[in-house]
């Protein structure tokens, strides 16, 4: 095939050039905003108020939804002021439930959590990704389980407990739930009901801000652990909550099988770095040179200067922002490692500039 060498050699590329998926998505989307052949979109069919600052969104996904395992999280994309923004939320429902649900607590200064709580109503469409995460039960269930939850960290644990219920678990489970006040308890009625129906579950609420009679108060300490978890030594532990609590838990429970999930707000995973001067970043595709300080992630520093590369989760999970670094060195913020000088693919949301860079952007 000398006449059409490219089509002959790369027929797939020709097909994708015709945009069959884009056409399908466009017309399906015109029929129903939930329909798509590439994106998992879900319709909000109910919004439940859990506490004054937490809401549960019940979602009906389209046919692309592949299901999940209790304890996993899912990327949720919403459009705020014309801009698509992605954050991860744990699924708080059970995989066997008819509909999915995510439970979102408003974070101070949190763009998406506040938007969801304020603006999302019944009938709206959210875009989801694929569920993922290792914060799940093992194949062989341990005899004794300890769950440490802090604030909105309860959401994946709620799903896991429901899962244990359907598996007819017959071991022993203790849930220590650290929460600001009685009014801030998420899923209170669900836990009450569960405790009534199963014999293996004990739930203890600990209030960190407003004490209440008959309940413990304070933060996670050795004393509280010893008081509520008599068989600590033989437990498998699941921790989900804010980062100080996790650090504390990891040091208190050293030597035990422990699984933890830490959700960081974008930008929180950045260890504070102060730098003198700037480094040059040359964007090879747009032929722009910009100066960045190298104090925060490249993505944030680029956006600050009005350059918006594609991005997603902003915590190094989704790989939407991957781009080729041609020269220069970066520090990977997720593990603190400094890279080589040569060519490699980097995730700009978790990379900080160390030297002058050349990026294929």
């Amino acid at each position: 095939m000398k006449t059409f060498p490219f089509i002959y050699n790369e027929p797939r590329e020709f097909l994708s050039f015709l945009q069959p998926k884009e056409w399908a998505n466009f017309f399906l989307g015109e029929l129903n905003p939930r329909f798509s052949v590439t994106a998992t979109k879900a319709k909000v069919i109910e919004v439940k108020e859990e506490t004054s600052d937490t809401k549960t969104f019940v979602l009906k996904p389209n046919w692309l939804w592949k299901g999940f395992v209790s304890g996993q999280h899912v990327p949720v994309t919403v459009e705020i002021a014309g801009r698509r923004v992605t954050r991860f939320y744990s699924l708080s429902s059970h995989p066997n439930d008819r509909y999915l649900q995510i439970t979102v607590k408003r974070q101070k200064g949190g763009l998406v959590s506040n938007f969801l709580n304020q603006n999302i109503k019944k009938g709206d469409i959210l875009e989801l990704g694929e569920a993922s995460g290792e914060f799940v039960l093992p194949k062989d269930l341990p005899k004794e389980l300890l769950f440490l939850a802090g604030g909105s960290g309860i959401t994946p644990i709620h799903s896991i407990l429901k899962d244990l219920q359907t598996l007819n678990y017959n071991g022993k489970v203790t849930l220590l739930y650290f929460v600001r006040s009685f009014e801030d308890i998420i899923f209170k009625s669900s836990f009450d009901l569960m405790q009534k129906n199963v014999s293996w579950l004990t739930v203890h609420y600990v209030f960190s801000d407003t004490p209440k009679e008959g309940y413990a108060s304070g933060f996670l300490t050795k004393e509280i652990l010893e008081k509520y978890v008599p068989n600590l030594k033989s437990s498998s532990v699941y921790v989900c909550g804010p980062s100080p609590m996790q650090t504390k838990a990891l040091s208190l429970l050293e030597g035990l099988p422990i699984k933890s999930e830490l959700f960081l707000l974008p930008g929180q995973n950045v260890t504070k770095v102060k730098k003198e001067g700037t480094v040059d970043v040359f964007l090879t595709l747009s032929h722009k040179t910009i100066q960045v300080k190298g104090e925060r992630s490249l993505l944030e520093e680029l956006e600050e200067q009005g350059i918006y590369p594609q991005s997603g989760c902003r915590m190094g999970i989704c790989h939407t922002c991957v781009c080729k670094k041609q020269t220069g060195s970066i520090t990977d913020l997720s593990n603190g490692e400094t890279s080589q000088l040569g060519e490699e693919n980097i995730q700009i949301c978790v990379s900080r500039a160390e030297s002058n860079l050349e990026l294929e952007l």
Partner: protein, 393 residues
């Protein structure tokens, strides 16, 4: 260089630049949902016109629906190239974080490869606007448009070559792209990629486009295929003529100036703004006309703010015009007919040697008088007589 603008001193230029900068900041702060909705509406229009257009061409049995279909397909291609493609590839909608409107992933319905276009247009043309020998868009390396370009007998043919270019504009744009990239690659680095490599990208895009318009879609029409081929050819031709007309009005009108490489050495941002202003020219019209030109009717605004969502140029234009008037700078605008006629006057004039060309183009007023005295504080300018009376009493 001839100019019909007031010659500004250094401070005045910097002050001008500052006002333009603050205008940009103010408008960019407003960019949001409205702009996202606009580009989605454009996207929708492009999809529907293409489906309807192709549908009508395929299933027509009399000339009326064939003509309607061909026109719709032309409109679709124009929207795809201008308001959607051109603006998206400038990165105007990158902030939306939507792959459909992202300059990294977008590819358009034209034989020019988007990636190559971004190099020679976004980078070379927009950085070195109207700088001879650096801006390859200036005359596209074959049209002589100023005395600074040496006359050769071959230029006598440029009215005809330009007519030919107008009809095949997408081929011109595409073929121009890979050469510029090769020419601008430093000689040392040329070993990495030969001209053939750059050409391959262009040829690939040609192949994709030809197969789509002249083999795939005609084949789908069965025995009706000659009609589909004709429809696609006409649609491409109409799109070519339209884009040629709009784009040539952008920089080659009578009063649009050109520059030399010496003039831009050590240029500041403010001086760059000024050069964009002097080298570009606008077209007056209504909103539909603006959209169909991809807002290149606002070439001046586009050149000052290439990454601003294009619809915003409508609100920027009157204010920029005010700033220009204040600094005595000529703001080149006019009706489509007037501007396009002046482009052709220039093309024809400079096809002849200088002594004829200058006679045709005429001598121009050297400087304009500024309408507002510069040293006056700006608030006095905006006060109306009534307001003045109030503040005085």
């Amino acid at each position: 260089m001839r100019t019909i603008s007031k010659k500004l001193n250094k401070e005045e230029i910097e002050a001008f630049g500052k006002e333009v900068d603050s205008l940009r900041e103010e408008v960019m702060a407003k960019v949001g949902k409205e702009d996202a909705d606009h580009i989605r509406f454009i996207y929708k229009t492009y999809r529907y016109t293409e489906v309807l257009g192709r549908g009508l061409i395929h299933f027509s049995f009399e000339p009326i629906s064939f003509i309607a279909g061909t026109l719709l397909l032309s409109i679709s291609k124009i929207i795809n190239n201008m308001e959607l493609g051109h603006n998206v590839l400038h990165g105007q909608y990158d902030w939306m974080n939507d792959p459909r409107f992202n300059s990294r992933t977008f590819e358009w319905d034209i034989v020019c490869n988007a990636h190559q276009w971004k190099f020679y247009h976004n980078y070379m043309h927009h950085t070195y606007t109207n700088v001879l020998n650096k801006d390859h868009d200036y005359g596209y390396n074959f049209t002589r448009l100023t005395e600074a370009q040496k006359w050769k007998p071959v230029h006598l043919t440029q009215p005809f070559t330009n007519m030919f270019l107008a009809m095949n504009f997408q081929w011109g744009i595409g073929a121009h792209g890979y050469r510029v990239e090769y020419l601008e690659t430093p000689k040392k680095l040329r070993k990495k990629k030969t001209l053939k490599d750059y050409k391959a990208l262009f040829f690939k895009k040609i192949e994709l486009q030809l197969l789509k318009d002249y083999i795939l879609f005609p084949a789908l029409a069965g025995l009706n295929f000659p009609k589909v081929i004709l429809g696609n050819m006409l649609a491409n031709l109409i799109r070519n003529l339209w884009t040629y007309a709009v784009i040539f009005c952008g920089h080659f009108t009578e009063n649009a100036e050109s520059f030399t490489t010496d003039e831009i050495v050590g240029e500041t941002k403010a001086q760059w703004y000024l050069r964009q202003l002097k080298g570009s020219s606008n077209l007056d019209g209504n909103n539909l006309f603006y959209t169909m030109t991809g807002h290149l009717s606002h070439q001046i605004e586009h050149h000052m703010f290439p990454d601003m969502p294009a619809k915003r140029y409508r609100e920027v234009a009157p204010r920029l015009k005010e700033i220009c008037a204040k600094y005595g700078q000529h703001y080149n605008t006019g009706s489509f007919v007037k501007q396009f006629a002046s482009v052709w006057k220039r093309i024809i004039a400079y096809s002849f040697p200088d002594h004829i060309a200058t006679k045709v183009m005429g001598k121009r007023k050297k400087y304009l008088e500024p309408t507002v005295v510069l040293n006056q504080p700006s608030f006095q300018v905006s006060l109306s007589t009534e307001e003045k009376a109030v503040t005085l009493t």
